[in-house]
Subunit: 235 residues, 2 copies
DNA sequence: CTGTGATGTAAAAGTCATACTTAATTGGCT
DNA sequence: AGCCAATTAAGTATGACTTTTACATCACAG
C-alpha cells in the first residue's frame, strides 16, 4: 500500500502525504517547494495543491511567499497542538520525542484538571468515573490490556471534560493517543501496574466526595508514574 | 474603518472577517454558509472563499459537506489551541471566558515548566531571567505598567522555553496575550502587586540555583495569584 | 576599481472566470 | 417502506491574467 488516504479525494490524499513528510523532517527547514512541482508530483490541479498549502500554512508548517515558493518552517514554529500534526508526528520517526512531550504536558494538566473536576463534576460524571475505575480493576489482570485501555482512556477523558475548562477538555484526544501509544509498546506482555489501578480508584473517590486537593495529588502520582515508566522504556 | 485586514489581499481579508464572526458566535452552531453567497458577500472569487473555508475547516470551526454547504461546528469541537482562534476570541465578546480558560491553563503549565527550567536552563537563560526580574522590580512603581509588562512577558517566555518542552514553549505567545490583556484592564491605575514582583525575583533565583521544587512552588503562587486577581476583576 | 543605489526583468504565488465532475439529499414513484 | 431519478452545492480542472519581489544588471559617485 503506497498511500493510506485513497478513498478520500485528492485534497486529503495530498495533505495526508505531504503533512507527514514535513513533520517527519523529510524536508529540512528552509526547503522550498513549488506548487507546480507538487501538482505534477501528485497529479492533481494547482487548485488542490494551493488549498493543501493553505492548510499546512495554517498549521505553521510552511510559509508561502511570492516569487520564492513554499518554505518549510523550523520545528519550533509548528502548531504542535494541532491534532493532525500530533497524529503525524506520533506516526512518524520522532514518535518517542513526541510521546515524551505529551507525557510532560499530561503531568502538568491532568492533576489540575482532576482538582477542578472534584469541584465541578456532575453526579453523572462521578458515576462514569467510578464505573471506568472499576472497569480498570476488573481488566487489570490476565492479559486484557485492550479492554483495560478502553476504560483507562475513558477515565481520563471524563476527568478532563469534567474539569469544566475547554482547553483541558480538548486534550482528551491527545491523552487517549498517548495512552494507546504506550500500550502498543508493551504489547500484551505485562499487566498494568497494580498501584496505578489503585490510584485511579482513589481519584474517582476523591472526585466523588469533592476533595480537590486529594484528587490533584493522586493524579499527580499517576502522571509522575507515567513519566517514570517512559524513562524505563525509551532512551 | 470597516475592516482591519485591508492591505493583505483578499484571502486574509475574508479570513480575518469570517473567523472572528464565527468565533464570536455570530453564526450559531449548525448554521450553513454557502460558498457562492460568501463569494458574493466579499466580492471575491469562489477560489478565495474555498481556500478560506479549508483553513477554517482545519481549525475545526466549520465542516464542509457536499450538497449541504459549510456548517458551523459547536464550540466544543473548535481547535481552541490555534493561535488565531485564541486571538479572535480574545478580541471578541467572550473575551472574559477565554481569559479565564487561559489563566487556568497557565496555572497548570507554568509551575511545571518552571520546575523543568530549573533543571534545564542554560546560564544565558538564567541571566535573561534575573535580568527581566530586576527589570520588573525597577518598573514596578510609578505608573510604568508598559515597561513592566515587557519584562513580565519576557520573563514568562524564558521560563516556558527554558523548560525544554516544545509544547510548553509554544504557549509563550498565549501567556503574553493573557498578560497583555490583563494589563489593558487596569489601565495604568494601579501598580503591580509587590508580592508578585518579589515572587518573580525568587523564581529567577530558584531556577539559577537549580532548585526545581522551589521554582515550581513559587510559580504556583504566582499563577494562583493571577487567578485570584481575575476573580476580583471579572464576574 | 569598488561599493552603493536605481531600474528592469522574470519567476512564482495569487486571483479570477468558467466548465465540468461527484456525491448526497430530496422527493416522487412504484 | 423502498428504490430511483433529479437537483443542488461542493470538489476539481484548466487557462488566462495580476501582483509581488528576489535578483541581476547597469549607472554613478567615491
Amino acid at each position: 500500500m503506497e498511500n493510506e488516504g485513497q478513498g478520500k479525494g485528492p485534497h486529503a490524499r495530498v495533505l495526508e502525504t505531504l503533512g507527514p513528510e514535513i513533520t517527519a523532517g523529510d524536508f529540512p527547514p528552509g526547503t522550498v517547494l513549488r506548487t507546480d512541482e507538487l501538482a505534477e508530483r501528485f497529479d492533481v490541479s494547482r487548485t488542490v495543491v494551493r488549498e493543501v498549502i493553505r492548510v499546512l500554512e495554517s498549521m505553521q508548517l510552511v510559509v508561502s511567499r511570492r516569487r520564492v515558493g513554499v518554505t518549510v518552517r523550523p520545528t519550533e514554529e509548528w502548531n504542535v497542538y494541532d491534532p493532525r500534526v500530533i497524529g503525524w508526528r506520533l506516526a512518524g520517526r520522532d514518535r518517542p520525542r513526541q510521546l515524551r512531550s505529551l507525557t510532560v504536558l499530561r503531568s502538568a494538566v491532568e492533576p489540575v484538571a482532576a482538582g477542578l473536576a472534584a469541584a465541578h463534576a456532575t453526579p453523572d460524571q462521578c458515576a462514569e468515573l467510578t464505573g471506568h475505575a472499576m472497569g480498570m480493576v476488573a481488566t487489570s489482570r490476565g492479559q486484557q490490556l485492550d479492554a483495560y485501555l478502553v476504560h483507562d482512556t475513558a477515565f481520563h477523558r471524563v476527568i478532563l471534560t469534567a474539569s469544566g475548562n475547554e482547553m483541558f477538555a480538548r486534550l482528551a484526544d491527545v491523552v487517549a493517543a498517548v495512552l494507546t501509544g504506550r500500550t502498543q509498546h508493551h504489547v500484551m506482555f505485562t499487566d498494568p501496574d497494580p498501584a496505578a489501578v489503585t490510584l485511579h480508584v482513589q481519584v474517582a473517590e476523591a472526585v466523588r466526595v469533592g476533595d480537590a486537593a486529594r484528587a490533584e495529588a493522586l493524579t499527580r502520582e499517576i502522571t509522575t508514574g507515567a513519566m517514570a515508566e517512559l524513562d524505563v522504556l525509551a532512551p
